[in-house]
Amino acid sequence: MLSALSYGRLVARAVIGGLSQTDSRDYSLVTARCGFGKDYRKGILKKGMCYGDDACFIARHRSADVLGVADGVGGWRDYGVDPSQFSATLMKTCERLVREGRFVPSNPVGVLTTSYYELLQNKVPLLGSSTACIVVLDRQSHRLHTANLGDSGFLVVRGGEVVHRSDEQQHYFNTPFQLSIVPPGSEGAVLSDSPDAAESSSFNVQLGDIILTATDGLFDNMPDYMILQQLKKLKNTNYESIERTARSIAEQAHILAYDPNYMSPFAEFACDNGLNVRGGKPDDITVLLSIVAEYTD
């Protein structure tokens, strides 16, 4: 139950933030993460840092806060390749790029391109593929710059409504755009999209805006209204409440994923495409929940 006072505070801040043209305060993202990996063989779920084959990162540099998620394509497991290696290395490389300042906040696609190039510079012969979604908040200009390749994505919620969202990039059903490194000779057989194919967007954010960055494990199991319901529980901008909300969102998605009778967004989309299915979609779930707040050290 959101108290009138704190809700009022949140609204007042948002309004003031929206009205004042010359808000010279720096913004920042207070971010919490939560997720569940799907344990394929045993049928039980394992909580982990790298949630199953999904990976994510949260990083900051002098002028920007950056988040990212990457959903490792599980199909590689059939060929003896650990799918989480690619997504984890990609996210770790992005994080290092950001920490060392080797990026331009207004060019999140550049973060992906440079990271991908760095993966190829590794002595270790990496194989695998993943989607990627990068979200950058430029602290001073209050602009959010995003890049999305594949079916992971983000939502921006303001005043209880979704005001921005990313578009899914799919080649065909259940085959998202993906960055990959393929074995030599398989270039034609394995899907490999260029980082330049990522869709980017750029818009202003206000204090109090909520940004949810997640892999398709969340979006395929929870429609928007359920997510918004959960977000209403977010009382204030401190880290503990954000973490609690992120956890409840991820948990709910995880429960719904294994509900055989529930008409998930994934099932609905499948039906639209002629596949008669029902139930949730068991998958790795990664949720990064952020609130735009004033920058404090």
Binding site: R62, R99, E100, L120, Q121, N122, K123, P125, P184, G185
Partner: protein
Amino acid sequence: ASPVKFPMLTLLSMFYYICLRRRSRSGTRGEALTSRRAVESGQRAVLPVSVEMEQYAKEVLDFSSHYGSENSMSYTMWNLAGVPNVYPSSGDFTQTAVFRAYGTWWEQCASAPPPFRRTPKGFYSQDYIELGFEEPVYPTAVEVLETYYPGAIVQILACSHNPFSQNPPTDVRWEVLWSGEPTKVLTPQARQFSPNIKHISFPTNLLRLEVNSSLLDYYTELDAVILRGVKERPMLALYKMPIIDISGLSDSEEELSDVGGPFRQGGDGKHQRTGNGYFDKLPYELVQLILSHLTLPDLCRLAQSCKLLHQHCCDPLQYTQLSLQPYWARLSDASLGHLQSRCTLLQRLNLSWTGNRGALTLAGFSSFMKGCGLSLVCLELSCCHFLNEACLEIISQTCPELQELNLSSCDRLHPQAFTHISKLTRLRRLVLYRTKIEQTAILNILTFCIELRHLNLGSCVRIEDYDVVASMLAARCHSLCSLDLWRCRNLTDRGLAELVSGCRMLEELDLGWCPTLQSSTGCFQHLARSLPRLRKLFLTANRTVCDSDVEELAASCPSLQHLDILGTRLVSCASLKKLLQSCPKLLLLDISFCSQIDMRVVQELCGLFPNVAIKKSFTQ
């Protein structure tokens, strides 16, 4: 007595109190860490001046080589700045600073120049890196975090110049904080290297590390450097430093500009009367032979001893080879000026690493080259950042007989400057590693310098189409013996095929990290069949190298000595065994990160073929 006692007591107790307080203040040496978080968030800790502070490097300013690609953060020198990423873990990680070479493998190649005479025994440095720190301090300790195959550091120096100041450098002094021999640590594990450093009389925020990896079994990797020091000049009580600064007692401190100073006629008479002892009885050639063993500073000092030895020491026959690289810190236009008159017969000149930060200018360099260029055959100018287009023009005009030119890591040289090299038609060895040479210039050079035997275009990122370069080499440079195309971005099987059909004498070929060569085109097998004399082949990180390629090498290249096939998943133990059996001269085989080859296989192969150094790097 009591009226005297009281004030005395008061005085004494006051005195005692003051002394106690003073002692307690100088006793506490609180260590204020420039913490990791503070570094990351760009903040600076505010410290009282007498406290020891600790800093990580702020920026890498200069270096002689690295393993990684330009603009990359994998295995490149820029990783040495900032906080450590790997330490205390050990392993071959991307986030470390790695030099281009290790061991003696590169010295064994035909492309390696012979060492220069008169190299002083204490000079071991092969590579260097210069680091700038935020705050100038009087150093009390320098710690280097080495995370893989440690032991390469041979010298640590500090500079009086602040590299971040806007003023141009004046009176740049380099002081050796520590120097030692290259070592080899028993295990490749990470370590923190913190030698006892000399205390110096000036504050510094510019350090230089010099390394020698010749004893190491694999590439050394460095993670971070920590500079500990105090802002205020340390007091005598804390450090054993004399007040009067004696600028070092080692030989290397000798000012080369003192050499050949005015020889006073006044003292002459005395020397002539006493004679030169036994030196008068020795034949000229014998004295010359004796002097040929002296290092350059000793030779210069000896010249001042008497007229006879002055004549000997200034004889141009003593200066047919001149290496000024060990004295890079003190070489100036004036030094070159003083040496000029002796260098008329100079054949081999090493000015690598010299002249930076204003020590050498176009005027001094061109004057020297005009004096000694006629006979010059070999010119080493690695990391000479004072060079500009005009200098290269001077070289092309004054050195018509030049056969060897090394411009390795002259990365500030404008692309236009390289056009002058095509006038040096006698060139046999040309090193352009990490330079900005462009397509037209290299094609021009290859058109005219047809006697090239050794060419190094490693990490030349400005060359647009390597297939065209390969084609030109095949057409013009039939004597080509070694070719280094490390990290050449776009060489394909077409260019390679032309190269091996035109340059039949090729013995050494470095195609490491060339991603566009695909084994499925048969290019490697074609290469093996075309180059029976092949002694060195690097196919580092070419993920397409497969068993058929290795088997073809086994069948066609019996003289193979060095092979690097790091990072391929397609090579099995069986084909490696065939290779090791068929190539009896094989000395180096790098199969790091070849996923089919595990440590058990490596041990088996090492047991069967003990003469081969089989390298298997690891990340944990």
